[in-house]
């Protein structure tokens, strides 16, 4: 039983770490603010609960487990809200997403959506 829990915890921590680094690379390498919001927000929403579940499976059941679950619920509730507010603020601030038109000649020219 303990070995199974250890294995599950290691799997969750590994997947969470990989997703974490993926989000960081996307945050650094994406061409546009909205693509960066996507990369950061989507991966964080899955990476944070995975890492916290991995932690939860390692520690013995106590009040600390409840606190970890509370952190998980809080991150799950607030993180998408924060990224949504950020994208909305950016749209109101006058920035437009970068779109590529495939119908035009493939010059890789970015144009602003009207």
């Amino acid at each position: 039983m303990t070995a199974i829990l250890e294995l599950l915890s290691g799997l969750c921590l590994f997947l969470g770490g990989v997703l974490c680094v993926t989000g960081g690379v996307g945050l650094l390498r994406m061409p546009d603010f909205f693509a960066r919001v996507h990369a950061s927000g989507v991966t964080e929403t899955l990476a944070a609960p995975l890492l916290l579940i991995g932690l939860l499976l390692q520690m013995e059941l106590s009040l600390d487990s409840v606190k970890v679950i509370m952190i998980m619920i809080l991150v799950l509730a607030t993180n998408p809200t924060a990224t949504h507010a950020m994208a909305k603020a950016t749209l109101h601030g006058g920035q437009r997403p970068l779109v590529f038109d495939n119908d035009q000649d493939a010059g890789g020219e970015g144009s602003s959506k009207p």
Partner: protein, 94 residues
């Protein structure tokens, strides 16, 4: 595996920090700062367990709350900075 996860979080924090310094607009900087804050919560939770600190989860919980409130506050500030005339004006409406 706990150590590997902590190292992954640290690498991600470094990447977010690079984007914070590099970011062309203030929105990019704020997004990277928010991502950095979330990673800090995870780092406190994991490293506190690995190093057996006392009451680290309370600190992580508080940091998550403060991170969200700070991000929302700064974004409200940025959102209406460019167009103050679009705000509803009660004096002119009456």
């Amino acid at each position: 595996m706990l150590t590997a996860a902590i190292v992954a979080i640290l690498v991600t924090m470094l990447l977010a920090l690079i984007r914070t310094f590099l970011g062309p607009t203030e929105y990019d900087r704020m997004l990277a700062a928010n991502s950095f804050g979330t990673k800090t919560v995870l780092l406190i939770a994991l490293a506190g367990y690995a190093l057996s600190w006392n009451s680290f989860l309370d600190v992580a919980l508080l940091y998550a709350l403060l991170n969200f409130v700070g991000t929302i506050a700064v974004m409200r500030f940025f959102e209406y900075r460019n167009a103050p005339e679009e705000r509803d004006d009660p004096e002119s409406a009456v």
